[in-house]
C-alpha cells in the first residue's frame, strides 16, 4: 500500500521530496527520479521502475501517489521529475507535455455476492444521484440498501466517471468517500451492498488475487482488456506521464523503456493496455 504513505503528505515532507527530486536529477551516475500523482498509474510505474532499475544499476525511481491533480500540481511547482495523470490533460494544463504509457478503463464494481451483473447508464445515474436507494429497484435483492462509494474530489477517476454520467460533484449522493483504488476495492469487498468504481486494471488484478468483487457489464461491454483495446468499453482513459519540458535525458530513456516490448509486457501483466 505504497499509496497510503503519500496521502498524509505534510509540507515538510514535500520540501524534503523537492530537495531529493531537484537535487538528484543532476546527479549523473546515481540517477534518481521522482514520480508523483495518480494512484492508478502508480503501481504500473512502480513495476516499470523496478524492471528499469534492474537493467540500469545506479538508477532509482521513487513513486508517490496522491491523485492525478497532485501529479499536475507537483509538476507545475517543480516538485517532481514526472507527473502521473490518469486522464487527458485539460486545456488549462496544456503547458505540460503528456506521454501516454498505457490505456485503462473504469469499471463499476460490487461485492462478488451481489446478484446484479449488468447496469445501464441511466440506472447508474439514478444510483449516484441518490434517487434509487434500494438494490431491489435495479433488479437486485429487494430491501438491501445501496451503499454508494465515491472517490474524493481531485481524483481523475472521479472526474472521468462523473463526466461519463454527466453529473457534477454536487449532484452526487455518496455514503462513503474513498481515497485511492486500493481503499475502494477493500471497501466494496467488505460491504455486500456497496457499489463503487475503480480502474479496470486494478480491479482485475485484485480479482485475480482473490478479492471478492465483481466487475459489472456496462452498455453491453464487459470491462476487459480486450474491450478497452478494441475501444468497445464506454469509459476509457489514457494513463499519462507529464513533464514540464519535452522529455529528455533520463526521463526519455525511461519512456523508451516503457514503450519497448519489455515495458509492454509489464503493463499487460498488470491488466492495462500498452501503447505500441
Amino acid at each position: 500500500m505504497k499509496c497510503l504513505f503519500a496521502c498524509g503528505r505534510i509540507t515538510v515532507l514535500a520540501l524534503v521530496a523537492y530537495w531529493i527530486g531537484f537535487g538528484s536529477s543532476h546527479a549523473g551516475e546515481n540517477l534518481r527520479l521522482l514520480a508523483t500523482g495518480s494512484s492508478t498509474v502508480a503501481p504500473v510505474m512502480a513495476e516499470l521502475a523496478r524492471k528499469y532499475e534492474q537493467a540500469h544499476p545506479g538508477a532509482r525511481i521513487d513513486v508517490q501517489t496522491g491523485g492525478s491533480s497532485r501529479g499536475i500540481a507537483d509538476m507545475i511547482n517543480g516538485l517532481c521529475d514526472m507527473g502521473m495523470v490518469s486522464r487527458d490533460l485539460k486545456p488549462s494544463e496544456r503547458v505540460l507535455h503528456a506521454y501516454t504509457i498505457a490505456h485503462d478503463g473504469i469499471a463499476v464494481i460490487t461485492h462478488r455476492d451481489n446478484p446484479i451483473d449488468v447496469l445501464d447508464r441511466a440506472r447508474l445515474i439514478e444510483i449516484y444521484r441518490g434517487e434509487v436507494r434500494d438494490w431491489g429497484d435495479v433488479g437486485g435483492a429487494a430491501g438491501v440498501p445501496i451503499v454508494v462509494v465515491n472517490k474524493a474530489a481531485g481524483r481523475s477517476t472521479l472526474e472521468l466517471f462523473l463526466h461519463y454520467l454527466d453529473l457534477s460533484p454536487d449532484q452526487v449522493h455518496s455514503d462513503i468517500i474513498i481515497g485511492d483504488n486500493q481503499q475502494g476495492l477493500k471497501t466494496v469487498a467488505g460491504n455486500r451492498s456497496g457499489i463503487g468504481y475503480v480502474s479496470i486494471g486494478a480491479a482485475l488484478h485484485a480479482q485475480q488475487e482473490g478479492v471478492p468483487i465483481k466487475l459489472l457489464t456496462l452498455e453491453g461491454a464487459e470491462p476487459t482488456i480486450a474491450n478497452v483495446t478494441a475501444g468497445n468499453y464506454p469509459i476509457t482513459r489514457p494513463l499519462n506521464i507529464v513533464t514540464r519540458k519535452p522529455a529528455q535525458g533520463a526521463v526519455s530513456e525511461l519512456l523508451a523503456f516503457i514503450h519497448s516490448d519489455e515495458g509492454a509486457s509489464v503493463i499487460e501483466s498488470l491488466n492495462f493496455v500498452p501503447v505500441r
Binding site: F5, C7, G154
Partner: protein
C-alpha cells in the same frame, strides 16, 4: 567543564525543537493569512457547505467530527487503559505482567496504517452487517480507541510503577482492602500520570489521519448518530492537499492551524490538572 558542555548541548537541542515548532506554526499562519483576510473567519463556520473549489468553506462539520472522534476514543479507551494498568500492577501474576506489558508496548508501537487496514477489512464490514454503510463515526472511534489504549496504558502503568511503595504500605497498615486502596489512594495519587496518558492519547487521536480516513467514510456532514459517516479535519487535509490551490489550500492550512491549537489546548489542560496538586 563536562557539565557546561552538557548544558550547552541540551540547551541547543531544546532550542532546535522549540524553533522547529515555531517555524511550523509561523509557516501555517503565513499560509493561512491570505485566505483568512480574503474569505474571513466567519465563513469557515457559516458557509452552506464544504466545496472549496466553488467557494464554500464550512469546516464546522469536520471540526465536530474530529472532536467527536477524539472524545469518543478517549471515553472508550481511557477507563479500559486505567483498569488494565491497575490489573497489571496489583492483580496479575508476574508472568502475566511481563508478557502483558510487552504486548501492550508492541501495540503502542504499531503503525497506525495497520490499525486502519484492520478497521477497513475487518471492523467496517462487521458494522456494515449491522448498520449501513459501516464506515462511520463508530468505526473511527473504535479504531482510534484501539490505537490510543496502549499509549494510555503504558503511561498510567509507568505512573503506578513510579508511585512510592510507602503509599501502599500505609494503605495496608490502615486495614484498607486492595480495591479501596486502588480507588481512593492509588488512582488519586497518580492522577497526573492519568492526565498525561489521556492527553497523549487524545492528541494522537485528533492528529491521526490515515487510520481515520480508511474507516470513517469521509462524508462532510455533522453526524446524526454513531453510524453516520464523518470526515475528520486530518482526513480532509490528506484527501485534498495534494491538488488544492489558492483559497482551498489556505483553508486546509487553517484546518492544520486549528489542529495545532487543539493540541496546544490539550497540553495546557493537562498542565493545569498536574499543577493542581491537592484535591478538595
Amino acid at each position: 567543564m563536562t557539565d557546561r558542555l552538557l548544558t550547552w548541548t541540551l540547551g541547543a537541542a531544546t532550542l532546535v525543537v522549540v524553533s522547529l515548532i515555531a517555524v511550523i506554526a509561523v509557516f501555517l499562519l503565513n499560509e493561512s493569512l491570505d485566505t483568512l483576510n480574503r474569505v474571513g473567519l466567519g465563513r469557515f463556520f457559516s458557509d452552506s457547505g464544504w466545496s472549496p473549489t466553488m467557494g464554500r468553506f464550512n469546516i464546522l462539520p469536520m471540526i465536530v467530527a474530529s472532536v467527536l472522534l477524539m472524545a469518543g476514543a478517549v471515553i472508550v479507551a481511557a477507563p479500559l487503559a486505567v483498569l488494565t494498568a491497575v490489573f497489571l500492577r496489583f492483580y496479575a501474576p508476574s508472568p502475566v505482567v511481563d508478557t502483558g506489558r510487552r504486548i501492550i508496548e508492541v501495540l503502542a508501537a504499531m503503525p497506525s496504517v495497520v490499525y486502519g487496514l484492520w478497521g477497513l477489512v475487518v471492523l467496517v464490514p462487521v458494522i456494515a452487517a449491522w448498520q449501513q454503510p459501516g464506515a462511520s463515526l463508530m468505526a473511527g472511534i473504535l479504531v482510534l480507541s484501539l490505537m490510543i489504549f496502549p499509549t494510555i496504558t503504558i503511561v498510567v502503568h509507568s505512573g503506578l510503577t513510579a508511585m512510592p511503595q510507602r503509599y501502599i504500605e500505609a494503605s495496608l497498615a490502615l486495614a484498607l482492602n486492595r480495591a479501596y486502596m486502588v480507588r481512593r489512594v492509588v488512582l488519586p495519587a497518580i492522577r497526573a500520570s492519568i492526565a498525561a496518558g489521556v492527553t497523549l492519547g487524545a492528541a494522537r487521536a485528533i492528529g491521526e489521519t490515515m487510520a481515520v480516513m480508511m474507516v470513517t467514510g469521509n462524508i462532510v456532514a455533522v453526524p446524526g448518530d454513531l453510524f453516520d459517516p464523518v470526515r475528520a479535519l486530518t482526513s480532509n487535509i490528506a484527501l485534498e492537499m495534494a491538488y488544492a490551490l489558492g483559497d482551498h489550500r489556505g483553508a486546509l492550512y487553517i484546518s492544520s492551524l486549528l489542529l495545532l491549537a487543539v493540541v496546544i489546548l490539550l497540553v495546557l489542560i493537562n498542565e493545569f490538572i498536574v499543577s493542581n496538586k491537592c484535591e478538595y
